[in-house]
């Protein structure tokens, strides 16, 4: 088990999938002759090759069905689910949408999405601290998103591990709320470097905080010069039109 976060697989649950497992448990021991000579075997293989292979399969699937898949990443409590429900309320009548929700426990977030009338599948990662490509693949077989739909994958709230695991998405979208701190992009550079868009959420709270928006954008561009930034408040709706325009632009891209 991981010393930092206790992350481990083995308690994975995907709604509708029996006995979901991200790894197997084979232990085929070979007991050869004693005193066998030692030798080297060259491997030269990326450890994430297996995940990347499944991610490539997901990506090919999305491309064939013209599905725009976005991977929403953030720390816990940044407002990802509220942003999603508000987005779906505005969008679902025009565009077919579907959601994969990742959390360690509970189906609360998927329930909130389903309340908007949009199909959602909850993936409970158990002790796992991120979604991987296999989990998304299995969830997609349950969800069966329509062709030309918009698929939102809400990752586990965590600014570290999800950066390393490609799910097959077109873009990672990092959601940062202004109650967090403008140096988050510097503290967690990998996530902001891997994201195409940073959404600064909860801007309605700016009058009550000492959050420096310009410094935050500067910090994000320091780790990723190309990152786009949209400021919005999912609660009041301010800036939501820019986010919806970005989504439309990506759908047509």
């Amino acid at each position: 088990m991981c010393s930092t976060c206790g992350c481990a697989s083995g308690e994975l649950r995907i709604e509708g999938v029996e006995g979901a497992h991200s790894h197997d448990h084979q232990h085929d021991h070979h007991h050869g002759l004693p005193f066998a000579p030692r030798r080297l075997v060259d491997i030269e293989m990326d450890i994430l090759a297996k995940n990347n292979h499944i991610a490539a399969h997901n990506r090919a699937h999305f491309a064939a069905a013209s599905v725009l898949a976005l991977n929403l990443v953030s720390s816990p409590g940044s407002g990802k689910t509220t942003l999603l429900t508000q987005t779906l309320i505005r969008l679902a009548s025009q565009v077919s949408c579907a959601v994969v929700e990742g959390d360690q426990q509970t189906t609360n977030d998927a329930d909130r999405i389903r309340a908007t009338g949009v199909p959602a599948i909850q993936v409970n990662t158990g002790k796992g601290c991120h979604l991987d490509a296999q989990m998304v693949h299995d969830a997609l077989h349950q969800l069966k998103p329509q062709d030309r739909s918009l698929l939102f994958i809400e990752n586990v709230g965590n600014l570290v591990c999800p950066a390393s695991f490609d799910l097959g998405e077109r873009h990672k979208v990092a959601v940062l709320s202004v109650t967090e701190g403008e140096d988050k992009p510097l503290k967690y550079p990998h996530m902001f470097a891997a994201s195409s868009l940073m959404i600064l959420n909860k801007i309605d709270l700016l009058p009550y905080l000492s959050f420096d928006v310009e410094a935050c954008v500067r910090n994000a561009r320091q780790v990723n010069p190309d990152i786009e930034v949209i400021q919005l408040s999912a609660t009041t709706g301010a800036g939501m039109d820019r986010w919806l325009a970005w989504l439309e632009q990506q759908r047509c891209a």
Partner: protein, 114 residues
Amino acid sequence: MHEITLCQYALETMERFARQNNARRITAVWIEVGAFSCVEAEALRFCFDVACRETLAQGCVLHLETPAAESWCHDCQQEITLLSPGVLLCPQCGGRNLRVVADDGMKIKRIEIE
């Protein structure tokens, strides 16, 4: 934080190659961790020993190679080493006109088997 998952992935590959080569056990492995990967070497060592228990790689020696954060500065026209992988600034001229050469992956180079 996700080092245990990476160890399990690594172990799957190591055991597959070991079986293909009719190994009795894996005695050592060489793993390269890219400067831009978010892998903590210490956490990896800790998880690795745990992940290897009751496998062909039990007691296996882990050799970690951690190359520096190499990049190319277009302004200085030379190779530079970033002070921190998170901050894309040339340590010589302070410019950001960089091309990152360092890897963000984690690679199994080779294993030693018997």
